[in-house]
């Protein structure tokens, strides 16, 4: 079958002549642009929600919407101001005052950053973070280099959490609800009100998110002290994978543990709908492991095969991807176990094989009829099974795309498969350092049952109303409870039902600890004095107890923690005094004491696998709502840097979408950008369609995370749709996890079109060979010891005299999985503003790194390549000679320097750049406030080491020259040379899969020089130096390492010669 280009397939879906433009023009008032029930902001359609929302509708539409963006009154005001300023042209700069400390803290030198260790609190992976603070203000988060979980890396959500600290929409003071209005009250009054309303109440409950440290223990102690019982602590974490795996392993081995992958051992991973690169168990740990363990290194490469129905980042990064029917993950696992069971090399003791035989015997009917329902051939699965038993391997299953009614059954079958493959003990570690389950399974079901009898509930750091399906009538349950207290770091949708809204500390302002991996205790300490009138949530409970007269013997939560840590001190370092031990952990961030505990034999599990496994109907359409890999379950939705970080596969920002297989769209005569109505018995939503290659023909993928209707959340309000309205809210019988997958839907197209703000409008590489290069493993064997010299290019000008350094970067396309953490880290490090949805549609995104995603081959089994594209710092940069005012010059050390104050904004450099990596400040952005204009959405998290640019100035990646400057000064003062790796640029530092390497190209032994002379190194648009084509001859200092695939791919770069240089004749190879 001719492999048409993915985009030809997609282009056919485009009803409009423009591949990407809507029928109307741009500057019509944004609300009038597209008609139809659903539009950019829900207020447009449901006026009662927010009639005077300044952002979209009503009198003062934003300046961009109107034809002349200033009305009469403004014009006269501005005109007069202009005249006055003109007249007093030579005004002298006002004198600046310098305010020193009265008594300076000892560890603080003005202008020098101080680093504090802490633990990220936005998901339960427990990554260790090193918080850089300047003059007492946290500025940037970076992973702790030697922390066992994240080894220096940090995901996008972790990086962006610093914007939550300074968010101007955090509650300024506690709010008490009196007859429909919330009045600010003092904290004293809060304690009195709670004490008086909780006096001799027996049924007081706490509804909280997942946590692995002493937190839940503390809540139980508080409940006991308050007279209520311990069971009334309900923990709820939308990522149901923890509960499913813990429950499965509890059933199988009696221990509710989650196995940890030992990446040094593993060579072959089979994923069944696993989201190892998305919001899995520990995203950064897995990404680091996959890149160290499985990616290509000197001749050898592991294999990651993924069976999945929707298109996830893990599927895109997999070496081989098989599409199975939606909801049939458990069936696939069953068939895999059946093939493994009969395999001669299968492992597992006789007792285990007997128990597995029991399970297989029970499901023999489904095994027989399962193959055509599954969608992949037996030959394919048996090939995978052969590899599984041959190499050290493991099977990994489940993730947010597989929260079906059989989530735990899938995990149980995976346990059987792993036993047959012999993974436990070798590649899957269960006896030591396993992942702990942050929640107790089935709490939500329990809460729904007891809700009627509760006297009061305190919601701490959780948002049940938004993250649980509406069909569960959670709101009505809460409204029946006499006292609801919402103790949140940031206002959430659940505040709607609360009588008391209490601002809790952001995790950077609070004490705490996490034990994400058994035996690894990581400390969380406050790194800043509270920015608003907030309190530590545990302290609030303590002081309420004190007002109730039943206080615990602790002044605050820190005292409680210190007491708990005293037993850890006795266990881990008995000879060291407690204070020195506590301060040592504070400085290091974590302490490890892995004790191995023996794991029992497999227990009979047939009873838990009873019942016929789900097999999808042939013609029905199904929907799945995986967790968005950027916003998680919506906890990241109020952070603009995350909303603007493009989703890896659709490159969509500031929105949610329904991804569907392009062939199905053609069959149903639906178009790209068309709004469809999705109906299920539980509810219906309408959403824009995005043709996503690789999705199963019967599946619709609607990511969670967006859709908040909370009027106070300016950033997330009205952005996207919450898909949970579709789900009936049944629970998975075993682990008590709401079902958000494989639900049957009916789909009707509507006539409205809606622009999805995607960053990339064209998806195919368009047979331009020198953008993405690809070699097969066999071919790489021959190229392995070949040293390439990418720098010698025939050239008229003399090469520049060698300076001590020549900064270069190498990006490995094999390792990049499109998570976007580099974009978030770069934006926060360099004060890059976020511009909002309207400006992205106009094509004015400001991110310095762009994540290009290209589909290749046919639409049902695509190959995806992610290419992070930043300034290539060319030595013959086409952008430099064209700048009239020397705003961009070439540093002798290879950096293309951008001097912001000198730039006057002719924008010729951006036109001349063949990579289009320059960004222009179309507007001046207001920092630290939610302004009128849609692009004033930047909470103040400015890095004082980097300038902020006004409008009219071009900006681009400058290789974090502030960090280079700092490191070079330190080295120069110490009288030594810079070591390789001593200075890390922001994107390299945070990349979870270590795809980016930065260093000094003049140093022969640095990592980047080795990678640049590697056999698979190539320059973007640099032609094919081996065959004498040098492409554009821009001599970039950034090089890419080609993708390596097991079989040869007929990628466009083989049979077609690279584009010749400009104008010179090129012979057809």
């Amino acid at each position: 079958m001719a492999t048409e280009h993915a985009d030809d397939e997609l282009a056919k879906l485009e009803r409009l002549s423009e591949v990407y433009a809507p029928s109307g023009d741009f500057e019509r008032e944004s609300s009038a642009r597209d008609t139809g029930p659903y539009y950019a902001a829900a207020e447009e359609v449901l006026p009662e929600l927010e009639p005077e929302d300044p952002r979209v509708s009503g009198a003062k539409a934003s300046a961009e919407g109107k034809a002349f963006p200033v009305d009469r009154r403004d014009f006269m005001r501005l005109f007069s101001m202009g005249a006055v300023v003109g007249a007093t042209a030579c005004v002298r700069r006002p004198p600046e005052t310098v305010l020193p400390y009265v008594t300076q803290p000892i560890d603080m030198v003005p202008g020098v950053a101080t680093y504090y260790a802490s633990t990220c609190g936005l998901c339960s992976a427990g990554c260790g973070i090193m918080v850089k603070t300047r003059e007492g203000r946290p500025v940037k988060l970076e992973g702790i280099a030697d922390h066992p979980i994240n080894q220096g890396g940090l995901c996008g959500l972790g990086q962006a959490s610093i914007q939550g600290l300074y968010h101007p929409e955090r509650l300024k003071s506690p709010l008490l609800k009196q007859e429909w209005t919330y009045t600010p009250v003092s904290w004293e009054r809060v304690y009195k009100v709670m004490a008086e309303r909780l006096k001799n109440k027996k049924r007081v409950a706490i509804f909280t998110g997942g946590a692995t440290g002493h937190r839940h223990g503390f809540f139980r102690d508080v409940l006991r002290a308050m007279g209520s019982s311990e069971e009334l602590l309900y923990t709820w974490e939308p990522n149901g994978l923890h509960q499913a795996m813990a429950k499965a392993h509890h059933v199988a081995f009696g221990e509710a543990r989650i196995p940890r992958i030992e990446f040094q051992e593993v060579q072959y991973v089979l994923g069944i709908a696993s989201d190892i690169h998305e919001q899995g168990i520990s995203p950064v740990y897995h990404a680091k492991g996959m890149s160290q363990g499985l990616s290509y290194q000197n001749g050898k490469m592991g294999t990651f095969v993924q069976l999945e129905s929707n298109m996830t980042l893990s599927g895109a990064a997999a070496h081989e991807r098989l599409v199975i029917a939606p909801g049939s993950e458990a069936l696939a696992a069953l068939l895999l176990v059946e093939i493994l069971y009969d395999h001669p090399l299968a492992k597992g003791s006789n007792e285990e094989r007997r128990l597995i035989k029991e399970v297989l015997h029970e499901h023999r009917k489904e095994i027989a009829g399962g193959w055509d329902a599954l969608g992949i051939s037996q030959k394919q699965l048996s090939a995978v099974a052969d590899a599984l038993v041959a190499k050290p391997s493991l099977v990994l299953a489940g993730g947010s795309s597989a929260f079906t009614a059989e989530a735990t059954k899938l995990q149980l079958l995976t346990v059987c498969a792993n036993i047959l493959v012999g993974a436990y003990g070798k590649t899957l570690i269960l006896h030591q350092g396993w992942h702990t389950n942050p929640v107790v399974s089935g709490d939500v079901q329990r809460f729904i049952a007891d809700a009627a009898s509760l006297d009061a509930v305190i919601i701490i750091d959780s948002d049940p109303l938004f993250t649980l399906p509406a069909a569960l009538h959670i709101k009505e349950l809460f409204q029946k409870i006499p006292l609801v207290v919402s103790l949140q770091a940031f206002p959430v949708s659940s505040d709607e039902v609360a009588h008391l809204l209490l601002p809790a500390h952001h995790y950077l302002e609070s004490w705490g600890d996490e034990q994400a991996v058994a035996g690894l205790w990581s400390m969380r300490q406050p790194v800043v004095r509270p920015t608003t009138e907030s309190r530590q949530s545990e302290d609030v409970l303590l002081w309420v107890l004190a007002h109730l007269g039943k206080n615990l013997p602790y002044a605050d939560y820190l005292a409680y923690l210190k007491e708990r840590w005293q037993d850890l001190n006795r266990v881990m370092a008995p000879l060291v005094g407690f204070d020195t031990f506590f301060q040592a952990v504070q400085r290091k961030g974590f302490i490890t004491q892995f004790s191995s505990q023996v794991v029992g034999e497999l227990r009979p599990l047939a009873t838990h696998l009873r019942g016929e496994l789900f097999a999808p109907k042939k013609d029905a359409l199904y929907v799945v709502s995986p967790l968005d890999h950027r916003l998680h379950d919506g906890r990241g939705a109020h952070l603009p840097v995350l909303q603007e970080c493009p989703d890896g596969l659709t490159t969509a920002t500031w929105d949610s979408w329904a991804a569907m297989n392009p062939h199905t769209m053609t069959r149903l005569a639906l178009k790209r950008n068309q709004v469809v109505q999705i109906k299920t018995p539980a509810g219906e939503i309408s959403l824009v369609l995005y043709p996503m290659p690789g999705v199963h023909p019967q599946l619709l993928v609607v990511p969670r995370g967006n859709g908040s209707q909370d009027k106070r959340n300016t950033i997330a309000r009205g952005v996207g749709v919450n898909p949970l309205a579709l789900y009936a809210g049944e629970f998975e019988p075993e682990s008590g996890q709401p079902i958000t997958a494989a639900t049957e839907i009916s789909l009707t197209g509507t006539s409205t079109m809606y622009r999805l703000a995607t960053l990339q409008k064209h998806n195919d590489i368009n047979s331009r060979g020198e953008i993405i290069k690809n070699y097969s493993l066999a071919e790489m064997q021959t190229r392995e010891h070949m040293t390439k010299d990418l720098d010698t290019v025939p050239d008229l000008f003399p090469t520049l005299a060698g300076a001590e350094h020549r900064w270069g970067m190498s990006i490995d396309l094999n390792k990049c999985n499109g998570c976007g953490a580099c974009i978030v880290a770069c934006s926060l490090e360099n004060n890059v503003p976020q511009v909002g949805r309207e400006q992205i549609i106009l094509g004015r995104e400001m991110q310095w790194i762009r994540l290009d995603r290209y589909f290749a081959a046919d639409v049902d089994h695509p190959r995806v390549t992610f290419q992070p594209l930043l300034c290539q710092h060319c030595n013959h940069a086409p952008c430099e000679p064209v700048c009239p005012v020397f705003a961009t010059t070439h540093d002798p050390e290879g950096i293309n320097a951008m001097t912001y104050n000198r730039c006057v904004g002719t924008r010729y450099c951006a036109n001349a750049c063949p990579y289009k990596v320059r960004r222009f400040n179309w507007w001046t952005h207001a920092w630290g406030k939610m302004g009128e204009r849609p692009q004033d959405r930047n909470p103040r998290a400015l890095n004082p080491d980097v300038t902020v640019r006004t409008r009219g100035v071009m900006e681009k990646c400058n290789f974090c020259v502030g960090r280079l400057r700092e490191a070079k000064h330190t080295a120069k003062i110490a009288g030594r040379k810079l070591h390789d790796g001593e200075v890390q640029v922001a994107c390299q530092q945070t990349c979870p899969s270590e795809a980016i390497v930065f260093g000094n190209l003049n140093d022969k032994f640095s990592r980047v020089t080795k990678q640049r002379s590697n056999g698979r190194a190539y320059l973007l648009l640099g032609g094919d130096p081996e065959h004498g084509h040098y492409g554009l001859k821009t001599l970039p200092n950034v090089n890419y390492l080609a993708q390596v695939s097991h079989q040869a791919r007929d990628e466009a770069n083989h049979h077609q010669p690279a584009a010749s240089g400009h104008g010179e004749q090129s012979e057809h190879a």
Binding site: D795, F797, P798, L800, N875, H876, A877, P878, C879, E880, P881, V882, C883, F886, T889, H890, P892, L1035
Partner: protein, 178 residues
């Protein structure tokens, strides 16, 4: 510079309606000593007149002004960028400063050559034409319309020169008013 000449000896102006008479008159008068200091005026630059001017004044030195202006312009055009490259050599796009970027500086050489050449030419035209002269008198409004004229200083209306001019075809001869 005081006005010593009395009213009547100011000089006379002869107006000629026809070009051929005027040309003969000018060549006739040009060599005559008692017409010393006379001025020839014309509304436009017929090439016959220009030939006469060529004989009288010789090739116009405005060309030297142009040459000097053009050469100084070219030198400035090349000197400015090269001086900047010497003072603060900034590498831009791999194009090392100084001699290697000379092709780019040819443009400045050319542009300033044209600019300074044009300015010098204008200067030359004004200087050689003794313009601007705020004190010159306009003898008759029709001189810039359709009449040619010859002004002879320090002679009366009845003098022999006036008669000769009449003979040579002057339509009218009158005393030049101050």
């Amino acid at each position: 510079m005081a006005e010593i000449t009395t009213q009547e000896e100011q000089g006379i102006v002869a107006l000629f309606p026809y070009l051929d008479d005027f040309c003969q008159a000018v060549s006739r008068v040009g060599s005559d000593s008692d017409f010393h200091g006379h001025e020839v005026l014309s509304p436009t630059s017929y090439h016959e007149l220009m030939a006469l001017a060529e004989e009288r004044y010789g090739p116009s030195p405005v060309r030297w002004f142009t040459l000097v202006g053009a050469l100084s312009g070219m030198c400035t055009g090349f000197a400015m960028p090269l001086l900047m490259d010497y003072d603060w050599p900034i590498v831009v796009g791999g194009k090392s400063p100084g001699i290697y970027s000379l092709p780019a500086y040819v443009i400045f050489g050319f542009e300033l050559m044209v600019l300074f050449g044009a300015l010098a030419t204008i200067l030359g035209m004004l200087v050689m034409g003794r313009l601007p002269n705020p004190y010159g008198t306009v003898y008759h409004p029709r001189i810039t319309d359709d009449r040619f004229a010859i002004f002879v200083p320090k002679v009366g209306v009845e003098s022999s020169q006036a008669k000769l001019l009449h003979h040579l075809g002057a339509a009218e001869v009158f005393a030049a008013a101050k």
